[in-house]
Symmetry: C2
Subunit: 204 residues, 2 copies
């Protein structure tokens, strides 16, 4: 049997229930850890599940930032330094990754709180997550305000990519499943994946 809910019924739901439903209905999510540092050297690490591909030339990714969330240290650090990292999450670290969503004070780095390891390389200012197999070094480009609900999209350009050799195909496709990257749904559900198939470029 199927259930139908109207907008009015959705708006009448208790707010945590509605948040669970609407967060899960958007589909599987690009979940990753965003690493930053402030100009005093204080690191921060936060989980985001709204990373979206914007284009390949130049290589741009966006993510959505809520105004009142624990992610605020991420935003202030990006604004201070212009740099951040995006680090894929795998099966052996998703519990630590989820734990970064707790409201720690700014003086407590989520790296310390979750025992994930900050990794600095290539003279890049922001910390990578050593445990991650796929790591991106990002340069801030633009913040777009989404006035309808006071969120922002943060847009950055990919400056560095680190990945395991054996995951790269001849045609440029990176097999992130082979690298163990996972996906999430809703606010708290984590999933591994199983390849169905890569399909050919579709023609009429």
């Amino acid at each position: 049997m199927n259930t139908t809910l109207s907008n009015a019924q959705i708006m009448d739901m208790e707010h945590r229930k509605r948040a669970q439903l609407i967060n899960s209905i958007s589909g599987f999510r690009s979940v990753a850890l965003i690493g930053t540092i402030d100009t005093q050297g204080q690191t921060n690490l936060a989980i985001f599940s709204s990373i979206v591909h914007l284009g390949s030339n130049p290589p741009l990714l966006g993510f959505i930032m809520r105004p009142d969330s624990v992610e605020r240290h991420t935003l202030s650090n990006i604004m201070e330094t212009g740099h951040y990292t995006i680090n894929h999450i795998h099966q052996k670290m998703y519990e630590q990754a989820h734990q970064t969503s707790a409201r720690y004070p700014k003086t407590m780095s989520e790296f310390d709180a979750t025992q994930l390891t900050p990794l600095f390389k290539e003279g890049f200012m922001a910390p990578f997550v050593a445990e991650s197999y796929i790591q991106l070094g990002m340069e801030f480009k633009e913040r777009i305000e989404i006035s309808i609900n006071q969120t922002s999209m943060i847009i950055g350009e990919i400056k560095w990519i680190h990945f395991p050799d054996h995951c790269l195909s001849e045609d440029g496709f990176l097999d992130i499943e082979k690298a163990g990257s996972i996906t999430s749904t809703g606010q708290d559900s984590y999933h591994t994946t199983q390849l169905l198939q890569r399909l050919e470029y579709a023609k009429p």
Copy 2:
């Protein structure tokens, strides 16, 4: 062994290879079919893998639209009618879903071309996909231009949700894996999922 690529190396790649790499590096994607109709009654169906949750109160989703793509009929129909549907994809229909990305002329509906079934209900103007288990009826709210690479984010509010009863949890979480929804990576890779765990709300 690991590979490191700099921005300059990425920009030097052959463009199709770069597109494959950058499309796969953003993580697993929210992939779904967007159904629309024009004021003449001509339906359109297109696959999108950039759907992103923007907020629950009101319930808002966004997706990214490229200016020069086959998705242009989707955009013009949304602008004409103000409505569209988002339909999850499952294992028995992903090949048809992928086929909607072929460049059909506007007079050829992708519903006909792929033998997916348009479904009209609740007086809602845009067609749902009958084969999909999770279907959303959306009302257009706002188009945000992303000038850095001439893409747009289309923002809509959820007006109707249809889903199988047995997928809804007590706390509002909708188990889209149980509903058979799949995810994608890159431009052409489709994946089922396997639950690791739902985690508790994280506290310091």
